[in-house]
Symmetry: C2
Subunit: 238 residues, 2 copies
């Protein structure tokens, strides 16, 4: 299973000044690509804290996606944090300097050049129609926070990501969780290759009370576990 973590960076989101659009969008995008998102952290613009999160998450996931903090101002600290988290120095990237020169001409200020200081060894992904490459450092994909750019860049590089999520089976029951929790735990323990999630309804008008979702990469184990669970729940399954 290909796993992913996400860091959504910005005080403005945690402080409620801007609603985050990138996190929910990324969840759907990863799901569509077959990647399993295991962690999504919203963090302030703090180089040390972002670096700690990178150091913790990069080794334990196939991919880490970051959103935000890549502009030219002092509160844009993502590249510095990624460098620190991965133990790499920061270096001016000549190809990025060329891109900015072509795009900005006379308007290429020393301020703008700050955006070309990236962790050493960064790869530049030039896919599709994007005007500025996606910067990737080891397994960390660094994306801008502006939702329109975040989406267009992910769409452009989408073909690079694919995974296989586990097969799924759903069962709806009219029972309360407390009427089958212990038997369910026993079933779950007997089928370690199947993950079983139990979700009470959020809408009291639903005809069922609990939705059970079974997931596994082993189709036979999934079918067998699903059959046993249906038998256990009997007539309450709808």
């Amino acid at each position: 299973m290909t796993t992913a973590a996400a860091l959504i960076i910005g005080e403005e989101i945690l402080g409620g000044r801007f609603a985050d659009l990138n996190g929910p969008w990324l969840i759907s995008w990863l799901q569509a690509r077959g990647l399993a998102l295991r962690h999504m952290h919203y963090l302030p613009d703090d180089e040390r804290e972002i670096a700690e999160a990178i150091a913790r998450l990069a080794p334990s996931h196939d991919w880490v996606f970051t959103s935000g903090g890549v502009g030219p101002t002092h509160d844009d600290v993502t590249f510095g944090a990624v460098a620190r988290g991965l133990g790499r120095p920061i270096a001016r990237q000549p190809e990025l300097v060329d891109v900015l020169e072509r795009r900005l001409g006379d308007r290429l200020t020393p301020d703008a050049l700050r955006m070309t200081d990236v962790p050493s060894g960064a790869e530049l992904w030039w896919d599709g129609e994007i005007e500025y490459p996606v910067v990737v450092v080891a397994n960390v994909v660094v994306l801008p926070g502006l939702p329109s750019l975040f989406r267009s860049k992910l769409q452009a590089v989408a073909h690079r990501f694919s995974g296989q999520l586990p097969a799924q089976s759903m069962i709806h029951t009219t029972l309360h969780e407390a009427q089958f929790a212990i038997q369910l735990a026993q079933l779950a323990a007997s089928a370690p290759s199947v993950r079983i999630g139990s979700y009470p309804r959020t809408d009291p008008r639903s005809p069922w009370r609990v939705l059970l979702i079974l997931e596994s990469h082993d189709a036979d184990a999934l079918a067998s576990c699903s059959d046993q669970l249906r038998a256990l729940l009997g007539d309450s399954v709808i």
Copy 2:
């Protein structure tokens, strides 16, 4: 400043099967109470990973709020994780057993009693009209994931939380960030008690290009820094 962290627990959110409503709602609620949210982590139903997050966040924030994983089924691991993260044993809570006995009568199964096994030393907050108390372990406020319950419980205990967020000043400019980034960094460095955030517009039809938000607990420093920034940006301020 009173600080907060949040853990939104559940595979079903990271996997895109349910949209999270609690995180955005909590952001607004904390903002209204004057608490500064510094971290919000979405995590799978994994006791070890949740425990690690609790151990990391509880000592460095005034409050940690958790959402989800408090039902009776095997995938509800929050209480175990909070206990592990804080280094406390789990114990059956007699008052919670009484509450469930009164509410469920004959339907009080061993399965349901699993919900009364909480970290030792847990406080029960009985505020307002709630039917089941809010369980608080040290500075960790454990809340159910069901959005209607999450909200009603937080509303009931709202009077227990209050803080003072920094005062704020906003400036809109028609300049690009790259036209003032270095001078802004110098100003920010000269006013360490003022946090300055720089946010490019998300809507290209906005008459301004960048929104600058200044924040400080020191009103004089805020006013002085704001004046200097307006002078620096000159006629571009709108």
